[in-house]
């Protein structure tokens, strides 16, 4: 699994390191140092432009409402209104929203990782007739847009009386094909000899899964867990379609309804937005390696 974040990445213009006519060492070093500084300046500029919406969001979250959209733009608040970060919890049930999002994300992630890695073992390490056809069915549904079958799903949940419950969302999202696919791809890279050796030592397949394959696949498990958690946390359409009562709302739905109700409270809206991002930022910074390698190996997302 290639870790893109490693600094050992091959230099794109590596060819330049071997110029046809070698220049004197000293001058080359200076030039490359200058080049490096110029490159850093360029990168910092680029980063600022790309992250400007976040910086603006953060700065606005400390402002008074009438200071957010001003001419000319105020990049920094004149005085920091820390009270926004106290007021948001009482103006809307933010803590409840966060708890709902966390509950859904954690339950769905655990179920997805457990059943996904379990099923992936069956697909990658056990041979039985019909296995490949079954796996093809999994892959085929990844290709079908979710929008194409959201109506039958909704009808089923309505019939079962599960609309406006967390159960509906958990059932719909915890058994995704993506998790099985990602884990299977990883298990295929683990040599089968390991299984045979373990079997000779008297381990059953369940033992092999629990004691050998799971510990070996920690990076893939981490990728899957993080991607699932973030996807569920950020999911808008699922909770929007299924959850109608306020006490079940997730952060995303709560925030959206907040804009609808208090569209002029710009600063507080920004405060809510910042709070909705913080958990993702923390998780992302802790596990960014796994996010990026997970995406690079699978090349697809739910």
């Amino acid at each position: 699994m290639s870790t893109l974040t490693s600094d050992l990445a091959q230099e794109l213009d590596g060819g330049r390191a071997l110029p046809p006519v070698p220049a004197r060492r000293g001058s080359r070093r200076i030039r490359s140092r200058l080049g490096r500084i110029a490159m850093y300046v360029l990168l910092v500029l680029l980063l600022t432009v790309v992250l400007l919406p976040f910086l603006w969001m953060l700065s606005s979250s400390f402002k008074h409402d009438d200071e957010v959209l001003t001419v000319p733009v105020q990049w920094l608040p004149t005085s920091f209104v820390w009270s926004n970060y106290a007021q948001i919890w009482t103006q809307i049930p933010m803590a409840g929203y966060l708890a709902n999002s966390a509950f859904l994300a954690i339950v769905i992630t655990i179920l997805q990782v457990l059943t996904g890695s379990f099923a992936a073992y069956g697909f990658a390490k056990v041979r039985f007739p019909g296995r490949d056809a079954l796996f093809l069915a999994y892959i085929a549904t990844i290709a079908v847009p979710w929008q194409a079958y959201m109506i039958p799903q909704y009808m089923m949940m309505q019939k079962a009386g599960l609309t406006n419950t967390f159960t509906a969302l958990i059932l719909l999202q915890a058994f995704g094909a993506f998790g099985v696919f990602l884990m299977r791809q990883y298990y295929m890279t683990i040599p089968d000899e390991l299984n045979e050796a373990a079997r000779i030592d008297g381990l059953s397949d369940y033992g092999i899964w629990a004691r050998i394959i799971l510990p070996l696949s920690k990076p893939a498990l981490a990728s899957l867990a993080l991607l699932t958690f973030v996807n569920t946390w950020n999911d808008y359409m699922g909770p929007f379609i299924y959850l109608s009562s306020n006490e079940l709302w997730t952060v995303q739905i709560g925030l959206k309804s907040f804009i609808g109700q208090y569209s002029a409270q710009y600063a507080l809206i920004m405060t809510g937005s910042v709070i909705s991002i913080v958990p993702i930022l923390v998780i992302f910074l802790a596990g960014q390696r796994y996010f990026i390698s997970g995406i690079a190996t699978s090349g697809m997302k739910g």
Binding site: D7, V71, F118, V126, L134, A177, N234, M270
Partner: protein, 308 residues
């Protein structure tokens, strides 16, 4: 996906013992797959199959279902909403696909360097992709504010006297949404391109330098051709995701103003879940699925022809 067929299925049984072994491996295999498969079959596979059946039925929230034949599909021809949504989806894809492709490739090339701290830049550029959509929609909506928004103030600064109304004008709402989605998605595809770039053998570049090829020629003659498999993957993923676009637009503009940013996915939601026209909306989703399928197959064909 080529790994699917790389192993022959179980050998034909020869004796009672091996038949018992075979039955055992079937049991073990299924016992691993079953916990996930139950959920998958019930909540994904069955709905996928049901969507195909529903599209040919008169089925709404109030009347008993009857067979409709292709009536749902002929109705699409006269449905103004469908025409508008289809057009908007196509325009969105035509804007979103090339722009994201160019931006993500450019970023990948720029960030594929041996520099201390480069990993930080990659991670930071990737971040918008995993940020919650509602927060992104909110902040961009404010940035796009026609009168006081920073973007239009910047355009004023550049000497544009009449900057567009963005999300509040029918003509500029779609471009505004496209810009936001390009910004959000480019980090994701950059990661795919970076993986592709790092798989190019260093010797190619050394040979090119030996032949005295400049940067530009090296890019056209070595980098781009070697990246072809990655570019193909990105193109397929990008177009599929463009045709499926829903939540970002829905949260940013709600499909408006008027129907200016109404896309196919939102129409399915409106007709199906809001108005209870299950059969008709399934016909729209079948059309969406077919578009995605045709685009994907078409791109595979082109790719195959190039490889020959």
């Amino acid at each position: 996906m080529t790994t699917l067929t790389d192993r022959p299925s179980a050998a034909p049984p020869r004796s009672v013992a091996s038949r018992r072994m075979r039955r055992r491996s079937i049991l073990i295999g299924w016992s691993f797959i079953l916990p996930n498969f139950l959920g998958f079959a019930l909540f994904t596979l069955v709905p996928v199959l049901a969507a195909f059946v529903l599209a040919f039925m008169n089925w709404d929230a109030y009347n008993p279902p009857t067979f409709a034949g292709i009536k749902n599909f002929t109705r699409l021809f006269g449905d103004q909403n469908f025409h508008v949504a289809l057009g908007n989806t196509l325009i969105y894809a035509i804007g979103h696909v090339p722009l994201t492709l160019v931006c993500s490739l450019g970023l990948a090339i720029l960030l594929n360097q041996k520099l201390r701290g480069i990993a930080f830049f990659r991670v930071a550029i990737f971040f918008p992709y995993i940020t919650s959509l509602v927060a992104i929609a909110i902040v961009w909506n404010m940035l796009f504010d026609p009168v006081n928004g920073p973007i239009n103030q910047f355009l004023h600064l550049l000497g544009i006297a009449n900057p567009p109304g963005w999300t509040s004008s029918t003509g500029w709402a779609l471009p505004a949404v496209i810009i936001t989605s390009v910004w959000r998605d480019m980090g994701y595809y950059m990661v795919l391109f970076l993986a592709g770039l790092q798989a190019i053998p260093q010797e190619y570049y050394e040979a090119a330098a030996m032949d005295g090829a400049g940067r530009w020629r090296t890019f056209w003659n070595i980098t781009l051709p070697s990246l072809r498999p990655t570019t193909f993957l990105v193109l397929v993923l990008l177009s599929v995701s463009s045709f499926k676009v829903f939540d970002l637009i829905f949260v940013m503009t709600g499909g408006g103003p008027g129907r200016a940013t109404l896309v196919l996915s939102q129409l399915i939601y409106q007709d199906g879940i809001l108005n209870g026209q299950f059969g008709y909306s399934s016909a729209i989703s079948l059309v969406l699925f077919l578009i995605v399928l045709v685009v994907t197959v078409f791109q595979f064909r082109i790719q195959q022809r190039r490889e020959r």
